[in-house]
């Protein structure tokens, strides 16, 4: 099932990309415009993804009852995607603590209390290492300033 979804998704992407390319100025062989290369790539991509979809749909589908196995990785993906949205308003320490806590919970680290402690230690240590030792500029608020002053 997933393979078919991916195959269809790739065709949709190729079609959208082709439409976008054509809207740019394609030009001619003697004067290729900004849309020239994208149009060439998009055409090839559409052909390749259509062929891939043909092979995928022709194949007998194994019953991939892996929905349960998808939960953990998808949760990790969702947490990673949410990080930029948390980082801007919450700054490094709070955003990272939340993300690490959720990740440790996803990986079922012993007890929630242990996850909580571990997240706290990892967040603080990482802030000190990255910010102080490696000179990385991380989003900082009053909490971060306080730790840096200590």
């Amino acid at each position: 099932m997933h393979e078919r979804v991916i195959a269809v998704g790739l065709i949709i992407f190729s079609a959208i990309y082709l439409l976008g390319s054509i809207q740019l100025s394609v030009g001619s062989l003697a004067q290729p415009g900004p849309g020239f290369m994208p149009a060439v790539i998009a055409t090839a991509l559409l052909v390749a993804t259509t062929l891939n979809a043909y092979h995928t749909f022709k194949k007998q589908q194994n019953n991939e009852a892996q929905e349960e196995g998808l939960l953990k990785p998808l949760a990790i993906g969702a947490v990673t995607l949410s990080y930029p949205f948390l980082l801007r308003p919450l700054n490094y320490l709070t955003a990272t603590f939340l993300v690490m806590f959720i990740l440790f919970c996803i990986f079922r680290v012993r007890t929630p209390l242990f996850s909580l402690l571990l997240s706290l230690i990892v967040t603080l240590l990482s802030f000190i290492i990255f910010s102080r030792l490696l000179g990385v500029v991380l989003p900082a608020g009053p909490l971060e300033d306080m730790i840096l002053r200590l």
């Binding site: 001619s28 994208p38 990740l103 990255f130 000179g135």
Partner: protein, 502 residues
């Protein structure tokens, strides 16, 4: 004399305390990465890329060379002692290395692997010095048609050599090229596929894509795997010395593996992996005791281990001489150079000699460090495998997040990281290799500019662009390589069909 004085200068650069420290740190981290299945040299280099921002460019390159070499060697340790290849390039070492360990010759296998890696590293460095210089001199005469040909031929070979499905590899290359067209057009400045996001004007950054596809996706894939239980074969220091007979049998394979590995390293794709298989097959064919292969033949360890290390040296040649990375790990090196404002290419050796020669010398030092560092610390490295997954994986995610953010302080880059993590998880789970996509993303913009410049200067005459001595030879070589591989595949298929019918 010129080479010797440059090399001496390179050693002077590499032997400064800070560079020595980073060579050692790179070799150490690389070995750890090599021991751990999953992250790989590319993932670790991508993760650590942003943390080299405050370093001098030469020091950063020295650090990466250490990681690359270390990971190649680290993979062999677990292959021999646990039958677990930390890296794809160490799979072949499992065959005879683990058998040797079971027979009580683990120490000898580890030493031969280490010495083989050292010999190969040394020989490939000499190859790099001469090949890169010759190629760079020739490349100064290259024009846009030649650079387009190099990019195209590289991608075609990559698609053929990457393993897995040919069609899926083609799709990944095309997706990478498509991603490379995002941002301002190099020639007209017109914004393409940016959807009003100003940060995409500079194009999709290579680093978040690579870290998403290799780092986050790897964590997501590993999360569904069961945790392994490892039983370690212990090795005492006094057991590390091979017998005289084992040394005698290893010298030939080491030298042959080094030469094979170096030349295979010049090709696009997973050259360290391919070189190990080629070396293993070669040694089995040349051996007076082919029946011992698979049962603990020391040649089966010495040859492939030398080959995968020599391939690393070979992979540096197109990067240093042409500025074109042929392996994903080299693409990270390009990313690191770009971060430091250096464009790799034929003029780099003249403009930044201390960088080129410093890296060359540090490779030698890195190899020596691996030799002295790894054998006594075998036990420590193998115990790293005991770190539980639930601790390691969240930390890798954190390193990816902070690593990506620290380069441009960009929230968009973080989003790209997460997006490509999820994309990578689904695609890799269905047999789509991420390496061709990453390489195409790096090479794509250079190819586009070269193609359009070539077409404009030839007034749209494609024949004029193709039938040039260098470009034409490259296209011909690629066509021959494809035809030969297709013929070999057909012959093999026919032979297996005949065997089945018999």
């Amino acid at each position: 004399m010129d080479v010797l004085s440059n090399l001496a200068q390179g050693f002077a650069t590499a032997l400064t305390p800070i560079n020595l420290f980073y060579a050692l740190a790179g070799a150490f981290i690389g070995t750890i990465v090599g021991v751990l299945p999953g992250i790989g040299p590319l993932g670790s280099m991508a993760i650590l890329l942003s943390f080299t921002l405050n370093l001098d460019a030469t020091t950063a390159m020295i650090f990466f060379a250490g990681i690359y070499y270390g990971s190649m060697y680290g993979g062999s340790t677990t292959s021999i002692l646990l039958n677990i290849p930390g890296e794809a390039a160490s799979v072949v070492t499992c065959i005879d290395g683990y058998k040797m360990a079971q027979k009580g010759r683990a120490g000898a296998a580890l030493t031969v692997a280490a010495v083989g890696s050292f010999v190969a590293g040394t020989l490939s460095i000499f190859g790099l010095i001469f090949a890169a210089r010759a190629l760079a001199d020739a490349a100064l005469k290259f024009g846009p048609p030649e650079f387009f040909a190099i990019g195209l031929v590289g991608l075609v070979l990559l698609v053929r050599l990457s393993g897995g499905s040919l069609l899926k590899n083609i799709i990944m290359v095309l997706l990478g090229l498509a991603l490379g067209t995002v941002g301002s057009d190099h020639l007209t400045g017109l914004e393409r596929f940016t959807f009003g996001v100003s940060e995409l004007g500079q194009g999709v950054e290579f680093l978040p894509v690579a870290m998403g596809l290799f780092g986050i996706a790897e964590v997501m894939l590993t999360a569904v795997e069961k945790e392994g239980v490892y039983e370690l074969i212990k090795v005492r220091l006094r057991e590390l010395l091979p017998t005289l007979e084992e040394w005698r049998r290893s010298i030939g394979p080491m030298i042959r593996g080094s030469i094979l590995g170096f030349f295979i390293g010049l090709l696009p794709g997973p050259s360290p992996v391919i070189s190990t298989f080629v070396s293993y097959i070669t040694e089995r064919r040349l051996s007076k005791h082919p029946e011992e292969f698979g049962e603990g033949a020391i040649e089966g360890v010495a040859g492939p281990e030398a080959a995968n290390n020599a391939a690393v040296g070979g992979a540096y040649v197109p990067l240093m001489a042409l500025g074109v990375p042929f392996t994903p790990a080299m693409a990270v090196v390009v990313g690191a150079l770009m971060l430091h404002g250096i464009t790799p290419g034929p003029t780099m050796m003249q403009e930044r000699p201390e960088l080129f020669w410093g890296v060359v010398a540090s490779m030698y030092i890195g190899n020596f460090m691996l030799l002295v560092l790894n054998l006594p610390l075998v036990g420590l490295f193998v115990n790293i495998l005991k770190i539980p997954k639930y601790l390691l994986l969240p930390l890798i995610v954190l390193l990816c997040l902070v690593g990506v953010y620290s380069v441009n302080s960009s929230y968009v880059d973080l989003f790209v990281l997460g997006f490509f993590g999820i994309v990578g998880f689904f695609l890799r789970g269905k047999g789509f290799e991420p390496a061709p996509m990453v390489l195409a993303l790096v090479i794509g913009p250079m190819m586009e500019t070269a193609l359009r410049q070539s077409l404009m200067s030839s007034h749209g005459n494609i024949a004029e662009m193709v039938f040039r001595p260098i470009a034409g030879s490259l296209y011909l070589a690629a066509a021959l390589a494809i035809i030969i591989s297709l013929v070999v595949r057909r012959i093999k298929a026919k032979a297996s069909q005949q065997n089945m019918s018999v």
